[in-house]
């Protein structure tokens, strides 16, 4: 019996689904498939058309004695309308009540019934909240009254429109107009139809008024190209032109990710699969000028340059073409002399892609004010990215800064503090703020900066990719409130005085111009980066045990030692290029490295460079190293079994 019911329901679903417009061979196949399956396997659960409780009720009903089952079956078969169904349900539950007293499943059943009643009551409460006539009444209305009022309300809402009970009523939960409205609201875009041959705007929805600020009548009949950014013309033309029978599009196979040449035969379907379009273009945005402009065409032609700007519009839609013969029949006019046998046009929805919006979204991480500039450092402190504002602040051209170590520009007194911060930022997920420090400008003077830094950690590998620093120009002297420098304690006094000195004497010539110090400074960052890498390596090796190598390392850091002694023993090593290291040598170095670590400073520098190279090796990219990563992969596969689904799904859409 359940199978019958299920079958009926499925049939019902699919008949409902058979919107004549959507009628298509693929759909038929789908339905056929399902029905076949239903016939074969009897383990189909109830479709979720029923609410869970009712479904539960059904299953409990199935457990009833044979006699009841039979009667139910008969009733459903004889008249599967609502009355019978409901009456049956009621009868059944009533009968069950009396029977249940002797049955052992009384307990679960009563619970099921209670759940059902609770659910009904909740629904009815919700319903009464939606009915205006119910609201003013203070007392709680009984079920039947609420339902009756709801019926009245529905009737009043519908007004004079035709009854939905009509047999040939085309099912749509909302009137077309309202749905259209809803879609445009949701999409926040505009519909447009553009002829492919000349780019004439055949139709544009009124909502363009809200998005691009044109009136509908202003645009209809115009050329789309008048409203496209000159540099995007080619792009749009390309989108419009690729409408020949065998489109030259390239598809990506979701399975392999490789491009496949589409050799899809263009069937009888008017909408061939290659007709989908999705592209971005910049369109003119019409600003309302201050003076009250008439929205007539004349005034809009005379719009000034400054009254318009471009915004990026994401257009999704498809190319539709009609055989002109068909058109001719309908129009009753001689269209046969048309240049092509098809009239095709792009039917698309344009959604404005606001840069501003995305910027607001993305602004949480890096906020930029006028007095700020953003830099990016590699782990070893080398500049890899410099904001254009840096040039005005620091005087260096980007190409002068890029690739050099930031330590080359720091004032000597600030080095301990900044090195400490550098080390900290590599280990921390938080943003780290530095004290004010002095940065040497191109002209040899120092500018006082304060930076907020964070290490950017690759979401997949969980490894530091680089350091992002937002640097604020502190033109005036600042109160040393946050100067609780723990490590930089001895130098902080002198630093403070330096700050003062700096303010009064902006140019301190040649204070750290000795080339040896410069080179040395550059290697500080390398050492710090190396510390982290080393720490990571030791941490990952099983032998490291419970010892926290990093703290040990940090305390006995060669950097600290050498900072106190101002000699520069291995400056030239940092400068050494070592691209030609053979792999065996590299292995040797790594073997050597650990035992020699506490003493071998020069080696540290060398190996660090090698390590950095290793880091950049895509092969090391991280699939193997992380168990957690694998877990992510597995969960991913579980959830989104195969992307291939997308393929056929879309094809179904297209062949409508």
């Amino acid at each position: 019996m359940t199978n019958t019911v299920v079958h009926l329901l499925f049939l019902g679903l699919f008949t409902q689904i058979f919107n004549p417009l959507l009628m298509d061979s693929v759909c038929v196949l789908v339905v056929g498939d399902v029905l076949v399956e239903e016939n074969q396997s009897h383990s189909v659960s109830l479709p979720s058309l029923m609410t869970p409780t009712s479904a539960a009720g059904m299953t409990s009903g199935m457990e009833l004695p044979r006699k009841r089952k039979g009667s139910m079956d008969m009733e459903i078969k004889s008249a599967s309308n609502l009355v019978a169904d409901m009456k049956d349900e009621e009868d059944r539950s009533e009968g069950e009540d009396s029977q249940a007293k002797i049955k052992c499943f009384r307990e679960p059943h009563s619970q099921i019934e209670k759940r059902r009643r609770d659910k009904m009551n909740n629904l009815i409460d919700e319903l009464s909240a939606m009915i205006p006539t119910c609201n003013p009444m203070s007392r709680k209305l009984d079920k039947l009254t609420v339902l009756r009022m709801a019926v009245q309300h529905l009737k009043s809402l519908k007004g004079s429109t035709c009854s939905f009970a009509e047999a040939n009523y085309k099912p749509s939960f909302l009137p077309d107009d309202e749905l259209k409205h809803l879609i445009l609201k949701a999409a926040d875009g505009f519909l447009f139809v553009v002829g492919c041959d000349r780019g004439k705007i055949v139709f544009v929805s009124e909502s363009i008024n809200k998005t691009l600020n044109y009136s509908q009548t202003e645009l209809i009949g115009q050329s789309l190209f008048d409203y496209i950014h000159p540099k995007d013309m080619g792009k749009v033309k390309e989108q419009l032109s690729a409408s020949e029978l065998y489109p030259r599009e390239r598809l990506i196979d979701a399975k392999t990710g490789l491009q496949v040449q589409a050799d899809l035969p263009v069937g009888a379907a008017r909408l061939c699969p290659g007709a989908r379009r999705s592209f971005f273009c910049r369109m003119k945005y019409h600003k309302i000028s201050v003076k009250q402009e008439d929205k007539e065409f004349q005034s809009s032609t005379s719009k000034k340059k400054e009254s318009e700007k471009y915004c990026t519009v994401h257009c999704t839609g498809y190319i539709r073409s009609w055989p002109t013969s068909q058109l001719g029949e309908e129009g009753g006019e001689g269209e046969t002399d048309k240049d092509s046998s098809h009239f095709s046009c792009l039917v698309a929805v344009g959604r404005v892609h606001l840069h501003a919006v995305s910027l607001v979204n993305g602004a949480n991480e890096v906020l930029v004010k006028a007095t700020e500039f953003v830099t990016r450092y590699a782990m070893d402190g080398k500049f890899t990215f410099v904001d254009q504002r840096a040039t005005t602040v620091l005087g260096y051209l980007p190409q002068e800064l890029l690739g050099t170590s930031c330590y080359e520009y720091f004032h000597q007194d600030d080095l301990p503090h900044l090195a400490e911060r550098h080390r900290k930022v590599l280990r921390s997920k938080e943003k780290i703020e530095t004290h004010c420090y002095k940065f040497k400008t191109k002209h040899g003077s120092f500018v006082t900066l304060q930076s907020r830094m964070f290490s950017f950690i690759n979401p997949w590998t969980k490894e530091v990719e680089y350091i992002v620093s937002t640097n604020t120009v502190m033109s005036s002297d600042h109160s040393p409130t946050d100067r609780s420098g723990d490590k930089a304690e001895p130098s902080s006094n002198s630093k403070a005085s330096e700050d003062d000195g700096n303010k009064s004497l902006p140019i301190i010539p040649g204070i750290s111009s000795a080339s040896s110090t410069m080179i040395y400074a550059g290697s500080i960052g390398t050492q710090i980066a190396n510390e982290l890498l080393d720490y990571n390596r030791m941490n990952s090796s099983p032998s490291s045990g419970n010892v926290s190598p990093f703290t040990v390392l940090k305390d006995k850091s060669p950097l600290q030692l050498t900072l106190s002694s101002s000699s520069v023993p291995n400056g030239e090593v940092a400068d050494l290029e070592m691209p030609g290291k053979s792999s065996s040598e590299e292995g040797e170095q790594q073997e050597l490295k650990r035992p020699q670590f506490p003493a071998g400073e020069s080696l540290m520098v060398e190996t660090s460079q090698l390590d950095m190279e290793n880091m950049m090796d895509p092969g090391l990219g991280g699939l193997s190293n992380d168990e957690a990563a694998m877990a992510v992969i597995m969960s991913l596969l579980e959830t989104d079994a195969d992307l291939g689904e997308a393929v056929v799904m879309d094809e179904i859409n297209w062949s409508l």
Binding site: V30, L144, A348, N361, G362, F456
Partner: protein, 394 residues
């Protein structure tokens, strides 16, 4: 005594039956008033009827709220402009009139005019709304802030296999991936610190999908997940019962069927977003040679200010398998940057053989190998003289 009791029992039974009958009758009336296909109506149980009624009333409230708001907004915006009647029919008439006037003005080729009229006729013929839905490449959902889906366009079936009637009135949380619930909740929230976005929403969620990639429909219980890009906006309805909803369009993301034009390039990345492959077109757009991009991280190629955008997209990719980056700046070799948007998907290794093509779930798919991306270039080179990163040099 016993007969008396029996009589009373019968009487109360009768009364209860009469009450139920009345209730059923009301519910039948109610179901007849619902805009549903008549074939479906007998199959609805009582809770479903009420559920659908509630949804219907809510969407109605919302829509009438729109009408009010719109006329109001319009007056506000347009100031002295002529106030227009709401109502689609009138606008359509107006549009036609306007169009005719324009065309009658002359200086347009007759062909265009005819074509325009024709296509308009066509459009009406096939139903403008269907057209809208089709163009959208997705379906429309209206969800209250509590998560009740009060409306879904009926083309949801094409994408998810689930029907409008099945879903309407139910909670969105019952049909979406548990690990996406927090994000959904965030996006349904009226206040959640997104004042800057002006109520705009753009997020990804995974929803139950009962259509397999072979087009078969499966049971809801064995439904898979499908990644949907949800874009829309928050609407507050003030008139009548207060109702705050998020309206959004859900579009399945897929890399297939993208017409790759000259302003796009495709690339493959390892899971940490380092290039493992890039097609030739990147040279024409960003001036990098494909081979010199190998091993370069996507994060080295972007503007620092857009780091967050890309990270978010990457996280989506890791957790959901597909993502859309949103707009970001990609650095051009030699200087400057371009605005771009990348659509990406995790691609699993193609299975060597498929012994039972009818049962795709049988063999566990192998781990993902790489990320496939399609990058759309949205603009020209901005500030081409500006050198920003090390990667742009040499």
């Amino acid at each position: 005594m016993t007969p008396e009791r029996e009589r009373r029992r019968i009487m109360s039974c009768e009364a209860a039956r009469a009450r139920r009958r009345a209730e059923s009758q009301v519910l039948i009336d109610m179901s007849q008033l619902l805009p549903l296909p008549s074939s479906l109506r007998p199959q609805l149980d009582k809770p479903s009827i009420i559920r659908l009624t509630i949804s219907y009333l809510r969407i109605h409230t919302l829509l009438s709220g729109f009408a009010d708001r719109q006329t109001w907004e319009r007056r506000d915006e347009e100031g002295e402009r002529e106030t227009r009647e709401e109502g689609e029919r009138e606008t359509r008439e107006r549009r036609e009139e306007g169009g005719r006037e324009r065309w009658a003005e002359g200086n347009r080729e007759a062909g265009d005019r005819e074509l325009g009229e024709r296509s308009e006729e066509r459009k009406k013929e096939m139903g403008e709304t269907d057209l809208y839905l089709r163009i959208l490449g997705g379906f429309v959902v209206v969800v209250t802030t509590e998560g009740d889906m009060i409306y879904l366009s009926d083309n949801i079936r094409e994408y998810m296999g689930l029907t409008q009637v099945e879903l309407m009135g139910h909670s969105i949380y019952d049909f979406t991936h548990p690990s996406d619930h927090e994000e959904i909740r965030d996006n349904l929230d009226l206040t959640a610190g997104r004042s800057g976005c002006g109520g705009l929403r753009d997020f990804l969620m995974r929803m139950k999908c009962t259509v397999t990639h072979r087009g078969r429909t499966v049971n809801l219980r064995s439904a898979g997940w499908r990644v949907l890009q949800c874009r829309g906006c928050l609407k507050v309805c003030v008139s009548g019962p207060s109702l705050t909803c998020v309206l959004f369009t859900c579009q399945p993301l897929s890399l297939t069927h993208t017409l790759l034009h000259t302003h796009t390039f495709t690339s493959h990345h390892s899971m940490d977003m380092r290039f493992t492959y890039c097609d030739q077109r990147v040279t024409g757009l960003l001036s990098y040679r494909p081979e010199e991009l190998l091993g370069v991280s996507m994060y080295d190629l972007c503007h620092t200010l857009d780091l967050h955008t890309l990270t978010k997209s990457h996280l989506n990719l890791c957790s959901k398998g597909q993502s859309v980056s949103g707009v970001y700046r990609v650095l051009v070799r030699g200087g400057g940057y371009m605005w771009a948007e990348t659509h990406s998907a995790v691609i699993s290794k193609p299975r060597p053989t498929q012994p039972h093509p009818s049962q795709p779930h049988q063999s566990r798919p192998s781990p993902p190998l790489f990320v496939a991306c399609v990058t759309y270039i949205l603009s020209g080179v901005e500030e081409p003289t500006q050198l920003l990163s090390l990667g742009q040099m040499n």
